[in-house]
Symmetry: D3
Subunit: 190 residues, 6 copies
């Protein structure tokens, strides 16, 4: 039986005490988000793993890119919808609602992205993310060219591929260990 406060089905308690750098990072989360996302608590049994995860996450989702932060979150949710990852749909669905100011858009990404009235660029972006998620072995140059044709650069294509790949990892880790999202997400930005 998992303890009420335990973020996953695994009995892997956080390092105690947390190293000062980590403690400070968690304090920032608490201040800015009003919570420490459970994914961070889940990795905090091993600070190297936590740091590797956050470094990659922050680079992909927050660093400079030809994709807006909202677009990266849209990819995150579409991938998570295919993989039916409860954690990621909850956390990143909230992010789409918040960044877009459009709660229905968040729901569409969770439920069926084709229901959204997207322009050609975002349709191509999500179509590529879907194909890479479902049948990556069938991707060919024609698929990349279709992205270039709607204005994406090669660097943008790298970013679409990377974000898609990242959530295919994250979805599987979260589902494999039954990671549970912070309850605050559900009502956020509705």
């Amino acid at each position: 039986m998992r303890a009420k406060d335990q973020p996953t089905a695994l009995d892997l308690p956080m390092v105690d005490p947390l190293p000062p750098e980590t403690a400070k990072y968690f304090d920032v989360c608490q201040d800015k988000l009003g919570m420490i996302p459970n994914v961070l608590r889940a990795y905090a049994f091993d600070i190297d793993k936590l740091n590797a995860f956050t470094a990659m996450y922050n680079d992909l989702m927050l660093a400079g890119s030809g994709l807006s932060k909202l677009e990266r979150e849209m990819i995150a949710v579409v991938v998570s919808s295919i993989n039916k990852c409860f954690y990621c749909l909850t956390a990143h669905g909230a992010a789409v609602r918040q960044l877009s100011g459009d709660p229905a858009l968040g729901e569409m990404m969770v439920m069926n992205w084709r229901a959204a009235d997207l322009d050609a660029r975002q349709t191509a972006m999500l179509g590529f993310a879907e194909k890479v998620t479902k049948t990556s072995a069938e991707v060919t140059e024609a698929d990349r060219q279709a992205l270039r044709d709607v204005g994406f650069s090669d660097r943008d294509i790298f970013d679409i591929a990377s974000v898609t790949g990242f959530f295919n990892m994250s979805n599987r880790v979260a589902s494999a260990i039954d990671m549970r999202p912070n309850p605050e997400y559900h009502a956020s930005a509705r």
Copy 2:
């Protein structure tokens, strides 16, 4: 048309000159492996992305774990076989051949892991990796318990999940951008 030396289908040249740390790391690769793996060259257009990738990779595949390095490579190849990723099957198939000293084992992981005569522990490990790859949303506590029943700790389960997740990311990025393996892998450890 991609240049002969280009590691992917994207026109994203390496930072030039490489920062000293990176240059040194590449030299170590050249010395120890006789090559710079193309995945590193592919990420070297952006040193932050390269560092995030190598930090996570090295932690997962080389740091301490209840899983042997060979077992982690076996998971890598089984996942890559499901996703039919040419890059990862080539590079990590070679690693299985090398670490095991058993070329046929490498081929079995590439072709059909059920052909290998594995013990109950490794069968459960690869069965879990397969399920997490194909239908992660259907993983339940019974699947985790089956791993515990053959002797895996919760920390081991985390590692199986993480390695499985990582190659589900890597496979997709590699296929999405048509990353090509260094030709040296093909004849290695046959």
Copy 3:
């Protein structure tokens, strides 16, 4: 281009004026729900079709049954999640939130029902609904017996099968004609 107010992608205006019985039914909806559900407006181009739909719907979802109304709505959402029907996930996800008073439960049914901590009875019920949705041809007596073993009667099994079947119809009609849910559902019972 569909008109802003049009509930589907098809140009099939409502009968005008509506017959008195229908007008009255729509008034009741407006009073009780604060809206006329778009599915009713979508069928109202042909009153016989509307009546056939509402008769079946009301019998299945509102008439007496060994399944609670909430349980029937849970089945509705799980089926719709498999079929990724934006309309039904939106409308019936709201119903689960409302009937259960548990917004997270509604999200779990939409995102991945296995994330919910359900008892053996409801787990069996949703597992059967999932199998009937995905691979109905493989249902055997053992599947029905598993429902009896957790306390369902033959009549209950009929009801689980019927509700599952109904949403497999409804999901497909809604997606085939791009039926859009009333926007009021999104914020309801969060």
Copy 4:
């Protein structure tokens, strides 16, 4: 063990005596078809459910439509072939043979509709029914437009969607409760 005469695997006897309206309807069936279709006997444990089913069925399959009765039966059989529903393939396969006077056409609908030499209109119709059955979430405006391009009206599209949806319901209910077709169908119109 099911009784020899029982139309499904569930022990749900018909209301006894049947209400006069129902008894009369069953008499008409016996006179016109030489049998009471088992689907009616299966629903007759609850007259409201029976009436809701027959009202929807008769409206969809027998009322006026831009689709001929044969075309609606062709859709019924193609959907049932995808879902491998023994009851519906038997009953509606017979209907295609009878309405078309072409036994081989009935067999083609049951076995593989692409084997039939159909015109562009019927090919589009069955292709749409197949997509709505298998991957309804991927239907887009382009699919509807393809139907309009071969001459279907928006009302016709509604009818194709509705018949397709209906048999996706009916197939699942029949398989879930192991409904068995009347034996008379097998030799009919060969």
Copy 5:
């Protein structure tokens, strides 16, 4: 456009004149079956290919085996149903009807073999044929043992595997070249 009499979509006329051995074999077919099965006419553009096909077919389906001829035909139809091969379903569906004297059994094999009330032995046989057809890479010793447990010998298992394999070949060749069955099959043994 294919000629009316042409057995496939390919323009590959029969050797003319047929060699005496072949002509004699075709005469025997005409006498015993009332027709020359189109599969023989389809291969008769090359007598070596025809002979290789008939030698394998006759050995598998007609030579001594622990499986009855009917059981081999049941496997043939179940495999062909999964692959939706119009030619083989038509020809071998007729064979099941004829050999069993039970038209409904033939229909069940075509439509959904799980609808038939089979004993444990035949259920295991068809379950194995289904798994070998759909997911042969997942067959393990446990699957073979399940066949031994209901009384099959290792030789019988070879025969089940061989017949299953053969129709997975035949179905694909027939569908790939649009081979059409002789119309006589449709009404046969109804």
Copy 6:
């Protein structure tokens, strides 16, 4: 437990002594290949079955055809990769390496044929083989015409279909009885 030397999981010893024709054929194999392929030993419990298998195999893979022997082996490996057949991937992967003199080409066929830089003709050939393997029921005249458009004759199309069909048989038989390849293949032509 299978004996060390036994080529499959079934206890079906070779006819002893082998008939002179068979013994001679096996001697030729030993001389030319340095081994007797295990598939021949597996069928040698019944000489009629062995002869039927070798007659078909030799006609398909070695007799005259518009497809080169290498092309036929490429099809063999691509089909075996989809079906994940350890025996056929091992034996025919070696054949591709040997006939092409290009070890990487063999690996690409095993791992993901889309990774190879093939011309339009071979791309169409393998695309057709893939479709016939995965979804033969959906092959239409357009697929055959696409082969004609890149220069294949109707006879060539027959050969592509036949080789594809054959390995869909062979893969399933090999996996169903756990046929193991001769170890010599692994290091061959690397």
